[in-house]
Subunit: 215 residues, 2 copies
């Protein structure tokens, strides 16, 4: 069932994989425990070679991930596809599946870099926040999963009905989903006179999942 | 790591679990394969006792699920939470985790009912579509997972910063996400004069993830 990439493929992720990772905001991380699989939503970051996850050092899912095969899936739902018959209903979506062994990052510089990549994934805010303390960094663990076994699935368009159904009386089409960032909600305990960083303020009104570059 | 419910709890899912299942549209299904875990996005449906998934009878993930422990996670991201320090960044979200053994539904009436529950999860359209043929039904498999081991996690609100950070110069707050259904996109091969069913037309402008009843 694992999708192995042939020797003719590039060493790392395809452009589709990187584009979907950039457009997504949440990962679903699957790990195996003695009681069966667990799937947990997590923030993530990436560079061209790895996907990064982070969490508290006591995070049970991350601890179960280290040195084991895991699966990280990112899905963006772009619409509901209603076919002439429920059998052909579908969704307009983009997804990426990354499988690989999670490696706990021990090197301090690499650790900080991974934390920054996760922090800055949606909007750069590391440099406009209070820098992490030594204690913050020690309390956090980060893992890297290589993008060598990653695949993207793009399902654009609308219904794919059977020819016989096109002459029937049934409607077919797509209802797109639009996700945008709303107005900032400053924390009730925010001191007067502190403005939001430009990168965060710029989110308002922006699409959460920018369209795929290929259209 | 499995969350077992005590004997004092109701037999099935909590009201929070049901509310999040109703507000969500996509599940991430984790199954174990010989090569490690796989997490696949799928549509889903529910009644008060079970979560239902469906797919082609050849669907590798569903086949790996039958008679095994699986995990189904539904997540709704309601906002990005920017704390004064990245260490406390978070998301405003609602999620449900369901763990249990997937049972393949063999009884025909139960099978049809499960397919209808998945089809009608977001908007009822089973009754306004071409009824499934015998072949359609035979080509589809459905599985049920009991909701007895389900848990909801609600993370509303904004940043939870440390007191020392509140006097610093850093912004803290939330950027909400709003997801709405856009205008219908009729299929290019739609015959003239066929209007969308009322339940589908009514989606346009509606929130994709209705707010949690508890606020």
């Amino acid at each position: 069932m694992r999708l192995r990439r042939g020797p003719d493929r590039a060493a790392y992720a395809s452009r589709d994989v990187l584009a979907v990772l950039d457009a997504g905001i949440i990962a679903h991380v699957g790990v195996v425990t003695p009681e069966g699989p667990v799937v947990i939503p997590m923030a993530y970051g990436r560079d061209d070679e790895h996907l990064y996850l982070h969490g508290a050092v006591g995070n049970a899912a991350l601890r179960a991930a280290v040195d084991h095969d895991i699966c990280v899936t990112i899905t963006i739902v772009d619409g509901l596809i209603f076919a002439r018959t429920p059998f052909h209903n579908s969704m307009r979506y983009r997804s990426v599946v990354v499988r690989g062994v999670a490696r706990r990052i021990r090197d301090e510089a690499e650790h900080i870099r991974a934390l920054r990549l996760v922090t800055d994934h949606v909007a750069p805010n590391w440099d406009t926040s209070r820098p992490p303390s030594v204690g913050d960094v020690r309390a956090t663990m980060a893992v890297a999963i290589p993008l060598t076994e990653s695949s993207a699935k793009l399902r654009p368009g609308g219904p794919a009905d059977e020819p016989d159904d096109l002459v029937g009386p049934y409607w077919g089409g797509t209802v797109p989903l639009t996700t945008v960032y709303g107005p900032l909600e400053p924390s009730p305990d925010l001191a007067a006179g502190i403005a939001a960083p430009v990168a965060i303020a710029a989110l308002t009104g922006a699409p959460v999942h920018p369209a795929h570059p290929a259209g």
